[in-house]
Amino acid sequence: MQLDNATLLAAIERRFPGAILAHSEPHGMLTLETTREQIIDLLQFVKDDPEIEAIFLTSLCGMHYPDHAGKELGVVYHLHSFVQNLRFRIKIFFPVDDPHVPTATTVWPTANWMERQEYDFFGIIFTGHPDLRRILNVDDLDVFPMRKEYRLEDGTRTDKDDRFFGRKGHEGREFD
């Protein structure tokens, strides 16, 4: 049976009534929003269900919306069902004071490094992850650089004067 966005949504809502908080189809890709308590069961369901068979976790990425109180951090899972040739994404949001999300490594081993990257960038703590530590940045970095409050440039660099780049923050050069 060929699956499309509507039947996929119906199948998920049948199995998990009330789990889907919001759904939309930006540019044709079904986007669901759910809670972090139900995400792992939902992922396991779409992977194992013989009608959906979304066996491939394409990507997992974090987001930071500092203006949404109580839902500042988020994780987006992109899933792909080869057999049905269908892609869809699932989002979860949670507050920045309590950035705990159950790990998806129990469902797919590929989530291991993806979650480490999102921990490195946003500080999202994946409970149950076998080895949650920084992967791309230096190990002793004490900030989570992708969060919106941190600037892109290194504040301690001495050879560039921000005024010439139209930025504020670091002014004045030091000559050797």
Binding site: T31, F56, S59, H78, F82, R87, W108, T110, R134, N137
Partner: protein, 402 residues
């Protein structure tokens, strides 16, 4: 299998294992990543990779650059085949703004992308040869890469990090010099490529080195998120160009080569060799069937108007100013688009809030995702097989770390 029975006697040998640090600067690791290997003599017991030695913060950088200034950043992802990354990004933005390209521009993009795929696979395969000791293939095939570089120079002016194309099409039509160079390449390259192939394909030494080195099964590969030639070497025929065709790939007739199912180095080598031949086929078809038309779409909000118009017409001047100053209205939305890069599915997840810069841009980098499986692939192998497995996976440090 031999490996399991070998290790059953090693359960309490942890104190007798030696630690070997492979990298980050090492002649055989092509790129900067580190592996700390625990070895029992020559056999590897376990490996712990460390990456991030060339982390350049692309995702953060992309949040602070306007849309057309992100193209040079995508160049530096998989820098052996940077046109594919450029085109992928342009297609993502075009999907967001809802722009459809004329057929001619799409065919031009296909030619450029397939040329860069050939360049990428040539690097990988010659380097597999170098790691087994066969340097001749490397010197021959890099001459062919120079011809491809010359063609890129004709189109965009640069050899390696190309920044080819624009949002909405290509920046200029292909010049007669490009067509002449392409024709000469298509005539001369297949024969020279077969020469390189005959050096290695049925070479006793090469086959003995590569067969069985770094195998992975299709189930584990899918669980680890493999895509591209590494996945096809295990027997799964997943290619983004066929699954979700983009840029008129559905018009072309080509096969997807698939390995024997063992997923070892020899499979990966042969899959890439065959993909080069299929890319040549695609370029041939694109050249023969190139339709007439414009080389860019009509999106004056994103595509720079031609200079004679800018100097004479008022609206062209205003559009030019707006595009260069990035004051164009970008629709709010989110889009995920993927292309078949040299290493697999390169995806771009773009969230736009209507501002000059993307709100969030996430790169789905194939190298980062499949390198996780490396410790599993080399468990129980000898050190030289591990080196071969690493180079046959075509790990590009720029894509690994972003």
């Amino acid at each position: 299998m031999q490996v399991q029975s070998y290790f059953s006697s090693l359960d309490n040998l942890d104190g007798e294992l030696s630690t070997l640090n492979l990298g980050p600067t090492h002649p055989a690791t092509h790129g900067v990543f580190q592996n700390v290997l625990k070895m029992d003599g020559e056999r590897i017991h376990s490996a712990e990779p460390t990456i991030g030695y060339i982390h350049r913060a692309f995702e953060k950088l992309a949040e602070h650059r306007p849309y057309n200034q992100i193209t040079p950043i995508t160049d530096r992802l998989n820098y052996c085949s940077s046109p594919i990354n450029n085109m992928g990004w342009h297609m993502t933005v075009e999907k967001l703004i809802g722009c459809e390209l004329p057929k001619r521009a799409q065919y031009m993009r296909v030619i450029i992308m397939e040329l860069s795929r050939i360049a990428d696979h040539l690097v990988c395969n010659s380097v597999i040869g170098v790691d087994t000791g066969a340097l001749t293939g490397f010197t021959y095939m890099f001459q062919e890469r120079e011809l491809i570089y010359e063609m890129f120079e004709e189109v965009c002016g640069s050899r390696l990090t190309t920044n080819i194309g624009r949002i909405g099409g290509m920046e200029r039509d292909f010049t007669p010099a490009f067509h002449a160079k392409l024709k000469a390449f298509m005539q001369g390259f297949p024969a020279r490529f077969e020469e390189f192939n005959n050096l290695l394909e049925r070479n006793r030494i090469f086959m003995d080195r590569c067969i069985g080195a770094g195998p992975i099964s299709a189930e584990r590969a899918l669980a680890y998120g493999f895509t591209g030639p590494n996945l096809r070497a295990t027997g799964v025929d997943y290619d983004v160009r066929v699954m979700t065709p983009y840029s008129s790939y559905e018009d072309f007739d080509f096969i997807i080569p698939v390995g024997s199912g063992q997923g070892d180095t020899y499979d990966r080598f042969m899959v890439r060799q065959e993909e080069i031949r299929q890319s040549l086929r695609i370029i041939d078809q694109a050249c023969k069937n190139m339709p007439e038309g414009n080389y860019h779409a009509d999106v004056p909000d994103f595509y720079l108007p031609s200079k004679p118009d800018v100097y004479t017409k008022m609206e062209a001047l205003i559009y030019h100013f707006k595009v260069v100053m990035s004051e164009t209205p970008i629709p709010v939305g989110e889009v995920y688009h993927c292309v078949e890069g040299g290493n697999g599915e390169l995806g771009f997840y773009l969230i736009s809030d209507g501002g000059r810069h993307p709100y969030r841009l996430h790169f789905r980098r194939p190298c980062f995702i499949y390198y996780q499986a490396f410790p599993e692939m080399i468990k129980g192998a000898m050190l030289s097989d591990a080196i071969l497995a690493m180079s046959s996976m075509n790990v590009i440090a720029g894509e690994l770390d972003a």
